[in-house]
Amino acid sequence: MTPSRRFLAHFYMALFVIYLMLPLVVMAGAAFNDSKLPTIVPWKGFTLDWFSALFADGRMWRAFLNSILVALAVVALAVPIGTAAAIVINAISGKWRATLYGFMVAPVLAPGLVIGISTVLFWNSLGNTVGSDFILFRPGLHLSTLGQVSFISAYVMLLVLARLQSFDPGLEEAALDLGASHAQVLRRILLPHLYPAMGASAAVAFFQSLENFNVTLFTRGGADTLTVYVFSKVRAGITPTINALAFLLICVTLVLALVYEMKRRRKARIEAERAAEARRAEAAML
């Protein structure tokens, strides 16, 4: 690789990062512009009014709360389902495995609106069949939750399965051999190994749910989630309150990203120290 080509590569990388970041900066910047329209040009002076307007927006807060509740419900359902699915697919073999795996990953590839529509139609016809108008069978956030669970479980399954591949089944046998019951093996041996992946997949599930639009739009009934609220605001003509919201969300994202990165580095350092100690012990014995 010639130096000029190397420079070009770095340059392209920088350009790409700017390309990704600039729209977010522009959007966030508009939150502080004292203009009725969400824009940064012309700059009419610095203001925090849009933030106060945001905090006064009751509908937004309800939507936000709804989003959080749905996301928590999705995590509570998708993580156990996806983990169980990963354990099952990891333990079986033969011709059934491929079929089952196909069914499990299909929801990842299925378009959100298809999932949304099929979920509503299914529960609705189920309600009609049993002749019940019970709330479960009508559109609402509970159906959004179920619809989201159907594909987010697949993400969880893939993440947990990847982690399972590094698990030594010998550990399960060792625990059984020492007298543990199957439940104890699961709780003390297998799950602790999977916790990092389950934690990561819980985070993925939470954020996927928060930002989900397609499934939610078709299943929500009359309820708002944050994404739907932003959508309806954009459609109905907007004030920079949305920008204020965006700014806050981006800040939260940044903080989370930094915390995650710091934790990762600390963990890597501890691992390295332990390995070094093991090498020293090895050397000392000889």
Binding site: D168, G170, L171, E173, A174, A175, L176, D177, L178, G179, A180, S181, Q184, R188, I189, P192, H193, E271, R274, A275, E277, A278, R279, A281, E282, A284, M285, L286
Partner: protein, 359 residues
């Protein structure tokens, strides 16, 4: 505390493949028993049947006189030390060791105390709060043993536990394992493909090949009186001759080969043809022909092996022979090209069948 183990006509099939074929062995309480054999001969399968992870296809396994058919691994009085140790990487050392107690509902203080006692026993007093990844290979080995001992098993099953260690450490751990076994009095069933390990550590050894137990005896007997060619070759070196048996009598026979006619002990051939086996260290060299079993040879390579010197030679009739002499200065080492005689005492040579295999 310790229990005996009986295998009666035990077979294990994987599909159409018979991994263990009609194993019969009676292991005494408190004994250090090794299964020795090449990789793939079914050793691990035997251990897994004893520990309960596989059910035998046929036959009976008794632990302490009780038939354990249908008893699950977590209810058997055995503790298995896995080939890769299978220490729990996410628990500190003391929790690893106390895991068996934890699942039995023992309270934390007692667990901790017991773990520390066991760590002392295996000579790792300061490791309690370390993580597995902080330990060296030998230290992990000891933790695995302590973890197995914690559940006070009547039988310890060890699946090539030293194979991952390097040579120096392996020899050190041999002595240590043996000492722990003697101290605790627990029955050890030890698996290895390393004949040195098996012979050095065990009270008795069962040599296996292709799913069959070939011979069960104490190490001396295995080495000095192997029952067949497989055992003879697996546990040591041999000079081998092929020929015809003549007038067998009183456990001895004459053996006619193109390289000469020899007299040797006659093993249990069971109707099969036999070969003559004699170990290099029982092969003597002399400047003049010996009375019996003497072969004129020309010395080829002389290789220095440390404690002994191996002399490779070719007979005038084309047979390749090796003799070993101790490196204690008592004998003169012949030069390459020297003409001399190799011989062996009749009672040191045996006519043996090949191996006990399915036919």
């Amino acid at each position: 505390m310790s229990a005996g183990i009986d295998l009666e006509n035990v077979c294990c099939d994987f599909g159409t493949f018979r991994a263990v074929d009609n194993a019969n062995v009676s292991i005494r309480p408190g004994e250090f028993f090794s299964f020795l054999g090449p990789s793939g001969c079914g050793k691990t399968t035997i251990l897994r049947m004893v520990s309960g992870f596989i059910e035998p296809t046929q036959g009976t396994i008794r632990i302490g006189g009780k038939d354990v058919k249908g008893t699950r691994p977590n209810q058997r009085p055995t503790a298995l030390i896995f080939q890769n140790l299978a220490l729990f990487p996410l628990m500190p050392i003391w929790e690893n060791i106390a895991f068996g107690l934890e699942v039995r509902g023992v309270d934390k203080a007692t667990r901790r105390r017991r773990a520390e006692e066991l760590l002392k026993l295996v000579d790792l007093p300061d490791a309690a709060d370390k993580m597995v990844s902080q330990l060296s290979g030998g230290q992990k080995q000891r933790v695995a043993i302590a973890r197995a001992l914690a559940v006070e098993p009547s039988v310890m099953l060890l699946d090539e536990p030293l194979s991952a260690l390097d040579l120096k450490l392996r020899q050190h751990m041999r002595a240590e394992l043996r000492a722990i076994q003697k101290r605790t009095g627990v029955t050890f069933i030890y698996i290895t493909h390393d004949q040195g390990e098996a012979l050095a550590m065990s009270d008795r050894v069962g040599v296996m090949s292709q799913g069959r137990i070939q011979q069960i005896a104490d190490p001396r007997e295995i080495y000095n009186n192997p029952v067949n060619g497989f055992v003879a070759s697996f546990v040591g070196e041999n000079n081998i001759f092929q020929g015809e048996i003549q007038n067998p009598s009183g456990g001895m026979a004459r053996y006619v080969t193109p390289h000469g006619t020899f007299r040797a002990r006659l093993g249990d051939l069971g109707g099969m043809p036999g070969k003559l086996y004699v170990r290099p260290e029982h092969t003597l060299i002399s400047a003049t022909p010996a009375e019996e079993n003497s072969i004129p040879v020309t010395v080829g390579d002389v290789s220095f092996e440390g404690s002994f010197i191996a002399i490779h030679a070719t007979s005038d009739t084309g047979a390749h022979l090796t003799a070993e002499i101790r490196n204690d200065g008592s004998a003169t080492v012949p030069e390459r090209g020297a003409k001399l005689y190799m011989s062996f005492a009749p009672e040191r040579a045996a006519i043996l069948p090949d191996a006990n295999v399915r036919g």
